[in-house]
């Protein structure tokens, strides 16, 4: 089986520990999301390794819900997530910051009118 199978475009990062030999093959990485209570959204809680989705779900149950933290679990292959690039933070997110008229506090309503 190919090295790093299941982790998609896993590539050597420049700062990987130098001189190590990959003796043990990598098991795919999964991101874990847990709904702690009905009515709440699933929240990212961490990640884990598993050879397939079924085992990922069981591993998530055993690792992340030992103290009754969850009612529902999602596991997602880490390489299925597309993320924005922090280097593009300015372009991506700063334009929204100036749109203060999107917030209720931008508008003035006379006190006599009360809560609106």
């Amino acid at each position: 089986m190919p090295k790093n199978a299941g982790t998609g475009k896993w590539r050597k990062l420049p700062n990987r520990i130098e001189g190590t030999v990959m003796a043990t093959p990598n098991t795919p990485l999964w991101e874990v999301f847990i709904r702690s209570r009905n009515g709440l959204a699933h929240k990212h809680v961490g990640s884990l390794h598993a050879s397939d989705a079924t085992m990922a779900l069981q591993n998530a149950r055993d690792l992340y819900t030992r103290r009754g933290e969850g009612l529902s679990i999602w596991v997602v292959p880490s390489n299925a997530i597309t993320a924005s690039d922090p280097a593009e933070k300015g372009m991506m997110f700063e334009p929204a910051e100036s749109k203060i008229y999107r917030h209720p506090t931008f508008y003035e309503v006379p006190d006599e009118v009360g809560h609106m």
Partner: protein, 258 residues
Amino acid sequence: MAVASISVSETPLVLYTLRRADDALILGHRLSECCGHAPMLEEDMALANMGLDLLGQARELYSYAAKVEGKGNDEDKLAYLRDVRQYRNLLLLEQPNGDFAHTMVRQFFYSAFADLYWRAMMKSSDPTLAAIAAKSEKESAYHLRHSSEWIVRLGDGTEQSHARAQAAIDHLWAFTGEMFEADASERGLIDAGISIDPASLRPQWLKTVADVVNEATLALPQSDWMQQGGRDGRHSEHLGHLLSELQSMQRTFPGATW
């Protein structure tokens, strides 16, 4: 050994409850031996979780047995101060962990039984046993799920894992018959609706086990010759060693509280 074993007044209900408590403790203890030594860290978590479920079951069952007996024994006296001949667990559960295939096949054979057993026991006319059953059923259902997934992966994994899984099945098969037996002392409890007849669970157990084993590309042995004796305290040699470790503190320091 500095402390003598306690004597237990084994009425049918006390004996019945002790047998199930011993099952849970001995398997839980075996799983606890794996802690820190599992094939992968994730499985360390899983084995410990199953072990903790079983320890929890054992404690409730021992406490109930002590209460029914009414002679001042408690969960710890029953667990730590009975000798090998007084233990009544299934032989299957005292078998050593062996390799991971043995650990999982043992878990699988027992969980497939325990899942059916506890579900049926939820209808016990004894409210305490019914309540313990309701909790244990959910735990056993997950143990069955987890061990089944592993049986399939080991059987349908590599040549080596297949061979190891088959060897474990062949070795442990002869210990499965004991799960479905009921002796004279249990017959009365079955008639009173306190217990269920375990023999009635065997067809469904066999189907569950066969389905998983087939999916795993493994085979069940043809032999129907079965080992017996655990329920009467006639154990394999393994249990004595397990108990000498389990009980060492209580036996060495008489009467101390920990």
